[in-house]
């Protein structure tokens, strides 16, 4: 365990910082645990903001440039929080592609006037694509919030999204 670095206090009183501290402590504040630590932050806060990266940099003794490099290299990490009421993930893996995943995607893009990776203007729907959700036997697959729609088609997905949005109103 490194002892030469003076521990700096977390950026705020937010209790979630304890989770981040626990992760770093578990690995003995070794710089090797950078990715594990970023996972913790992403899970607890939803994104990696400047404040978090500064704190990790100071605690692990890793240059900020390197943290930014890692945070932007991996697809899973995001620097900005995604603020939308609902998330729709369309699988565009090979199996889903062959079975019409792309058609579902373009239909949703058209119907809800949103592009993949973006949120609708009214902030109700965040549309995302996934490389492969691994449920290829049930392709095409769409995940709407927590709900998985297997063997989906554009009509039932659009209908389900509209139901969910209407339910909010």
């Amino acid at each position: 365990m490194k002892t030469d670095i003076a521990r700096i206090p977390p950026p705020s009183d937010d209790k979630r910082w304890r989770i981040i501290d626990t992760t770093m402590r578990r690995y003995g504040y070794d710089s090797h645990c950078l990715i594990e630590t970023l996972h913790s932050v992403q899970e607890a806060f939803g994104s990696l903001d400047d404040q978090a990266m500064h704190y990790i940099s100071a605690t692990l003794g890793v240059p900020l440039s390197q943290i930014y490099g890692v945070a932007t290299f991996y697809h899973l990490f995001t620097l900005k929080p995604r603020e939308a009421h609902h998330t729709c993930v369309i699988c565009v893996g090979t199996s889903c592609h062959i079975k019409g995943g792309a058609t579902i995607l373009s239909a949703i893009e058209k119907t809800f006037r949103v592009k993949a990776g973006q949120t609708t203007a009214d902030g109700t729907l965040y549309l995302q694509t996934a490389r492969c959700l691994g449920s290829c036997g049930l392709a095409p697959v769409v995940v709407l919030n927590e709900e998985t729609l297997s063997k989906a088609n554009q009509n039932n997905v659009i209908q389900r999204i509209q139901e969910i949005i209407r339910h909010d109103a």
Partner: protein
């Protein structure tokens, strides 16, 4: 942990299992879970309890039952009746039927080639044991291979057994496993590592995930045996973070194994110690490449580096490192238990054993299959897969994901072996097979994979970073009917450059889908150009 305790625990579990008149196995792997098999599991448990049958009938969550396209799957043992597309509403009828005959409308026949022609080594326990209970793994001779290795064999004897088996790397390239183990074992260092590569990134491939979800202990046992053989004391399992259930079951299995003492210090009262840690990926396909994976475990960007030196000589933190794929390691316990000679009798002479495939796309019976090496590709599609739905014609079979190629009907009679697949411009790959029918456009497939590679290129070397982007642009141009004959020549030239000058496997193999579709389906490209 004393060796006798292991046998005792296994025996106790076997005896306990016999007290049940019925055991209802519900598939709780990701495939069936996305068809809400968890609700079926809960409903079954409640129904059995409400009818007061919970002393004689046990409802158990198990790993993958194989036929994912017919999920949620439920199997009633010891009768072995398999039910498909089971919904919560079917549960009362299903439980009621235990005393009578099976519910005919839900029965899925197991007489079909899909079940009959498979040979299971890696997936032997999938669908039979509860992956969350180590006792069930012990009851099916779990950790016996490790026990035998540690207490009765020297490390070099273990390695010769693996060499004798003829096992080759299941990650795709097919490097002889025994040879890799030998190199690491010979390397002179006080610290060595074993890494399990579970960064399964090919779209359409889910073999490794299902193995981890269905039988996590066989990976732990395989790694510990590998650690003993090569002289490593620390192992890492690098798993994609996109596999939450696999991670959860793996971590749970590790805790159980540690508590029981089958990993940790003084394993089976010997001087051998072995620890395993789980490391998570963060959504980067390139991290499946071994040097990129090592960089990622070290907490850095997943950039590959030139080889040599190979990880076997200088890997994780510069130390000799053995990297094996999930499926490769999953074969190890069975090889130790039954001997390398036994393994070598399965499959063909150059490619021994079995291979697990994720069979999907336009095929009647999709799911996770394990077949002996050497089986003809046609058997995989038409016997096991049950042919193409909607009476459409077969067009191509894609193997090896973004690094592989498309195989046309004329080559379907070839045996499934590493060399034969290479000859026709594809690769064995990690095991994703996607079947395409006559409605699929091959130019579109090539473009799909190229866009994938472009997106996943780490950006370190120019041929891959720029080449894949240019190739994707050219393919889009062709697909949209805007290309000239010169574009096709440029496409081929560029494929050649990217293939031969890229730094790592991602770039070197990125042109494969284009080259193989050009080889067998050139007319489709020409048709787009003439328009």
């Amino acid at each position: 942990m004393m060796p006798e305790e292991l046998t005792e625990l296994a025996h106790k579990e076997q005896t306990d299992a016999q007290q049940w008149q019925h055991q209802i196995h519900v598939c709780t792997a990701t495939g069936c879970l996305s068809a809400q098999s968890d609700q079926v599991y809960t409903a079954l448990t409640r129904e059995v309890r409400d009818r007061g049958m919970d002393k004689t009938c046990r409802v158990k969550g198990v790993g993958c039952l194989g036929l994912c396209s017919a999920g949620p799957l439920v199997q009633v043992n010891p009768a072995g009746t398999l039910y498909q597309h089971v919904q919560v509403d079917d549960v009362p009828e299903l439980v009621q039927s235990l005393k009578h005959s099976p519910v005919e409308r839900l029965v899925c026949s197991t007489d079909i080639p899909f079940f009959q022609q498979q040979v299971k080594i890696v997936l032997a326990n999938a669908g039979n044991i509860d992956p969350e209970r180590i006792e069930e793994y012990l009851a099916v001779d779990g950790y016996q291979g490790l026990l035998q290795a540690v207490t009765e064999m020297t490390p070099s004897e273990v390695i010769s057994e693996v060499i004798h088996s003829g096992l080759r790397g299941r990650g795709g390239a097919g490097y002889p496993t025994g040879l890799k183990w030998t190199t690491v074992a010979k390397a002179d260092s006080h610290q060595k590592y074993v890494i399990c590569n579970a960064d399964e990134g090919d779209p359409g491939a889910f073999m490794d995930r299902n193995i981890l979800e269905s039988d996590p202990h066989c990976i732990i046992e395989g790694m510990a045996i590998a650690g003993y053989a090569v002289g490593a004391t620390q192992g890492y399992i690098y798993v994609r973070s996109e596999y939450p259930l696999a991670i959860k079951r793996l971590r749970n299995a590790l805790r159980r194994a540690e508590r029981l003492g089958v990993i940790g210090n003084n394993i089976f009262e010997s001087a051998f110690r072995f620890q395993i840690d789980v490391r998570l990926g963060a959504g980067a396909f390139v991290c499946g490449e071994e040097t990129a994976l090592i960089a990622s475990i070290e907490g850095r960007r997943g950039n590959p580096r030139p080889r040599p030196p190979y990880p076997a000589e200088a890997g994780l933190w510069g130390q000799p490192t053995l990297i094996n794929n999930v499926e490769t390691l999953a074969n190890i316990p069975a090889i130790l238990r039954n001997g390398g000679g036994w393994f070598a009798t399965i499959g063909s002479s150059q490619s021994t054993g079995t291979k697990v495939f994720a069979l999907t796309g336009k095929v009647n019976h999709g799911g996770l299959i394990e077949v002996p090496m050497g089986m003809s590709l046609r058997s995989i599609v038409f016997d096991i897969g049950g042919g193409i739905p909607n009476e459409l014609a077969f067009k191509a079979m894609q193997t090896g994901g973004p690094s592989g190629g498309c195989i046309p009907e004329t080559h379907l009679d070839m045996p499934t072996e590493y060399e034969t697949l290479n000859q026709i411009g594809s690769i064995m790959g990690s095991g994703g097979i996607i079947i395409m029918d006559e409605t699929s456009s091959m130019v579109d497939v090539a473009r799909f994979y190229m866009e994938f590679c472009q997106d996943e290129s780490c950006g370190k070397c120019v041929p891959c970073r720029v080449g894949t982007a240019q190739l994707a642009t050219l393919l889009t141009k062709i697909a949209e009917g805007m290309a000239t004959p010169e574009d096709l020549i440029l496409l081929e030239e560029l494929c050649d450059v990217v293939k031969h000058t890229s730094l790592c496997g991602l770039g070197q193999s990125a042109p494969n889908p284009v080259l193989s579709t050009l080889r067998f389906f050139r007319h489709e490209y020409l048709a787009h150009i003439r328009q």
